[in-house]
Symmetry: C2
Subunit: 169 residues, 2 copies
DNA sequence: AGGGATATGTTATATTATAACATTACACAA
DNA sequence: TTGTGTAATGTTATAATATAACATATCCCT
């Protein structure tokens, strides 16, 4: 027997698993309308929350979006890589990196409970599809002209709409 | 001579620097009303955006909030530690951790551009103030009874209001 | 001064998330 | 079986976060 809530979680998880992209809660909600015509935001957030507490889904903090867990069994925290070009998300075992991070913050007496590690860049498929322009570190967002090229970290998240890759809603 | 925009950025930075907490954009906006009575959200977000692109402020992704940079000179990415008890933020040089993370994701051909590393836990001051109950890894949120104790990662961010520390708005 | 680019101001709205309360389902005792 | 308390789910409304779109001002260069 499955409670309605379990059904909802299963449906949400199925939707997340159909892609390796992260979906916003409201995108999930849209897709849920097929199976649950009268669904409202709290139901989605509750399902996501349950899935996350079971380690079956993760929130991608830098995208305000959610993704299915890709690990066989999600033991502790993992590293999420986010392709700036196609939006693909990959989950990597954090392993020793976790200890390294904890060690750094422990130098000021901080005790770690929960790690969030996300990396933006270019995925293997996109790297293969179009060669890096030069300089080696992966390519820029696209062929869009760059009148005043972004510097440092500004490359990433708060990117003006016009030069934002299409997969960002 | 300072343009109005530069003044705004300076004011925002001053506000962020008054605390070692992260402030939401709208909290910043409130405090800006003293100096800029007619300010609107876009001005705040523009100022924050400029500050961030110069590395003088950072967004704390897991808190949807902003904090002044604490580094002498913010070279690349850093590790932010967030105290679950008092909300204090500390910035740590990522150093070799950055390479470690890049190395992990590089195993699938991913090339890194921008790292986000945040750690939730308990800061030195809070650890000192009240002894860990047992188990060693830093203490729980407070003396609130725990009818069905949270497990795994669920300890952190999506914490129900009632048992959320006061510094979370 | 004119004209184009950039920065700033203003209004409105989009997007994300949760509070608050109503209702239902279920366990267990009376 | 019928009440009674508890937890899960549904529903409504609203809070909190962020950006679009366009108007106006400022600056730089000729
Ligand atoms: Zn996982
Ligand atoms: Zn890609
Ligand atoms: Zn910094
Ligand atoms: Zn603390």
């Amino acid at each position: 027997m499955t409670t309605p809530g379990e059904q909802m979680q299963a449906d949400v998880l199925a939707i997340l698993r159909r892609r390796n992209l992260a979906l916003s809660a409201y995108k999930v909600l849209e897709e849920l309308r097929d199976a649950h015509p009268k669904i409202a935001p709290p139901a989605v957030y509750r399902a996501l929350s349950s899935l996350m507490s079971k380690g079956q889904a993760h929130r991608v903090e830098t995208l305000k979006a959610y993704v299915a867990c890709q690990c066989k069994e999600h033991a502790r925290a993992s590293i999420l890589s986010i392709c700036e070009n196609c939006g693909a998300i990959e989950e990597h075992l954090a392993g020793e990196v976790l200890e390294a991070v904890s060690h750094v913050v422990a130098e000021t007496g901080f005790s770690s409970q929960h790690h969030v590690i996300e990396v933006h860049g270019i995925c293997a498929a996109c790297n293969a599809r179009m060669p890096a322009p030069e300089g080696g570190g992966g390519r820029r967002l696209s062929a869009i002209a760059d009148p005043m090229p972004p510097k440092l970290e500004a490359v990433c998240c708060p990117l003006p709409t016009a030069r934002r890759a299409a997969w960002r809603h």
